[in-house]
């Protein structure tokens, strides 16, 4: 168990920009006719530029809600979120959000789907197009630019979704269980590619997942949220001393001895028990 560790990471790559995310005493309550519900309580967390942090917790602990607050689509009841020192009050081009499913628009080609953000934000379309094409090529989708989504498999669609998220060059990327709709083999393959692309772009990343293995293998720090009301229960810095020269890919990480140790620790912390 660690305190809110500040992690020094190498400066972001030359291509991408990256920003610090500060979550400052964020609480969220909402009302139904029956009751007032405290979903998140006093969450404080700092994510350094270029750092990958995962949030894990059982369903209903408010981890996706926290992500929506960071993205600015849900205002917190108390506290605030700052990205690069500026308070997040509304959705911002600085923040990229990748949802559980690809939600590609059937009526747009792959390239036009990747350009959705640029179009909404009324960017320079020529520049945006160049960037989107480069990203799609990087995600292995360069041959499908003019195809429609229905021709693509689930894994390919999620790659397009990643390119769409990065096409507006956000400083931070939020991933909301981005692989939960994929089959297990595709998940493993896509996790490697996504981490590779995101590290290449030097983005700060917040990953929400209920998959402990995904959290350990993909991120630098795992934050465990308690049951409702969601609080930070513990944080774990993930390091792999058995591979000292470089960071293992998510797939490699799963084969390293540290992986199982972290897994067991996190499993205990999550305190999972199946309710009948």
């Amino acid at each position: 168990m660690m305190a809110d560790t500040v992690l020094e990471r190498p400066a972001a790559g030359p291509r991408g920009s990256s920003q610090r995310i500060e979550i400052d005493k964020v609480s969220l309550r909402y009302f139904t006719r029956q009751a007032e519900i405290l979903a998140l309580s006093g969450i404080s967390l700092t994510i350094e530029p270029g750092e990958f942090v995962s949030l894990i917790g059982q369903s209903g602990c408010g981890k996706s809600t926290l992500l929506s607050i960071i993205a600015g689509i849900l205002p917190p009841s108390d506290g605030e979120v700052r990205v690069g020192g500026k308070t997040v009050a509304a959705p911002s081009p600085r923040i990229g959000y990748m949802l559980q499913q690809d939600y590609l628009f059937e009526w747009r080609t792959i390239l036009d789907n990747a350009l959705l953000g640029a179009e909404i934000q009324k960017r320079d379309m020529k520049e945006a197009r160049d960037r989107a094409v480069r990203l799609l090529e990087k995600c292995g989708m360069g041959h499908f630019l003019d195809q429609y989504p229905r021709a693509l498999s689930g894994g390919m669609r999620q790659r397009v979704a990643l390119a769409r998220t990065l096409a507006t060059d956000p400083d931070v990327v939020l991933l909301d269980e981005p692989f939960s709709a994929l089959d297990s083999q595709t998940r493993l393959a896509i996790a490697d590619e996504v981490v590779d692309v995101l590290r290449g772009e030097g983005k700060s990343v917040v990953l929400v997942t209920h998959d402990i293995g995904e959290a350990i293998s993909m991120t630098d720090r795992v934050v465990v949220l308690s049951r409702r009301p969601g609080r930070i229960k513990s944080q774990h810095r993930i390091v792999f001393p058995s591979m000292p020269d470089r960071r293992p890919t998510p797939f490699e990480a799963r084969g390293l001895p540290e992986f199982n140790e972290y897994f067991n620790t996190l499993w205990d912390e999550l305190d999972v028990h199946v309710e009948g």
């Binding site: 009526w107 909404i120 934000q121 498999s153 894994g155 493993l188």
Partner: protein
């Protein structure tokens, strides 16, 4: 390698259509399918022909009174006669043109009102019961009022719109509401305004619904036009029908009805064709 899985999946689905040479069993299956399709077309033709023959025979043998039913061989000369004297094409055109106007107006109005209801949840909550009643109300009751309010020409358009607009609003609005909220959330995270969500997500996402509404609409608009013409018009197929029946010329009535059947069939087919061409792009 694991990384190749998605690409392989795609290749195998694309590969199906480009099989090298079909096996004898496959060729036989294809022939069987073609035969089945032909049989259906043939049976339809026989059914239509049988109905016409039955109509002719029953009337000619006075099993039914030919004064009341007319019969095909009498309708045909009337058809030619009406065509020659020039007014059949004119009447058909008048009905077609009024249907097109009514249909376009009710489509535009329906989509606009549905957009307002989508935009404002308050407006929807307030207007919902009124819409339900307006839709259930038999609009034909308004024919005399429209005639007084709008005059002979515009009451026909008015009826076409009145009959089709409420169902259009409801169908289109349901389509708007059926858009996956996550698609809207996605647009929101990219910073979309409400107007952008409407024009870039909700409207294009509702194209299949809009096409379905179009199909319902064209039939209803035609009903409105015919009913309107019964009351007020001096031209159109509805006028021909009411006029023919008043002077007891059932040949004219039957001819107009047959032309009406053809007209509605053609309009429906045109839209179905358009739908087929468009909807392909919108299926996931």
């Amino acid at each position: 390698m694991v990384t190749n899985t998605p690409a392989t999946t795609l290749r195998s689905t694309v590969g199906d259509s480009s099989a090298a040479s079909p096996s004898p069993a496959y060729a036989a299956w294809l022939r069987g399918e073609a035969r089945r399709a032909n049989l259906i077309t043939l049976t339809r033709a026989i059914l239509l022909l049988a109905a016409l023959v039955l109509w002719e025979v029953l009337a000619r043998t006075h099993v039914v009174n030919p004064m009341l039913t007319s019969y095909p061989s009498a309708v045909w000369p009337t058809f030619l006669e009406l065509l020659r004297t020039g007014d059949l094409l004119g009447h058909t055109w008048a009905t077609f043109q009024a249907t097109l106007v009514g249909f376009t107006v009710s489509m535009a109005l329906g989509v606009a009102v549905a957009a307002v209801l989508w935009w404002s949840g308050f407006a929807y909550k307030v207007l919902d019961p009124f819409l339900v009643v307006a839709n259930a109300m038999p609009k034909i009751a308004f024919v005399p009022i429209f005639y007084i309010w709008l005059g002979s020409e515009y009451s026909v358009y008015g009826m076409a719109v009145a009959i089709s607009v409420f169902i259009t609003i409801m169908v289109v609005f349901e389509g708007f509401r059926g858009i996956d909220p996550n698609k809207i959330k996605l647009a929101l995270t990219l910073g979309a305004s409400k107007w952008q969500i409407l024009t870039m997500v909700v409207l294009p996402g509702s194209v299949p619904t809009l096409l379905a509404a179009l199909k319902v609409n064209i039939g209803l608009a035609l009903v409105g036009v015919i009913v309107g013409e019964f009351q007020s018009a001096s031209e159109g197929l509805g006028f021909l029908i009411i006029n023919g029946s008043q002077v007891f010329k059932l040949n004219i009535v039957m001819t107009a009805i047959v032309v009406l059947a053809l007209l509605s069939g053609i309009m429906y087919l045109a839209i179905a064709h358009f739908e087929k061409a468009t909807v392909r792009r919108y299926s996931s």
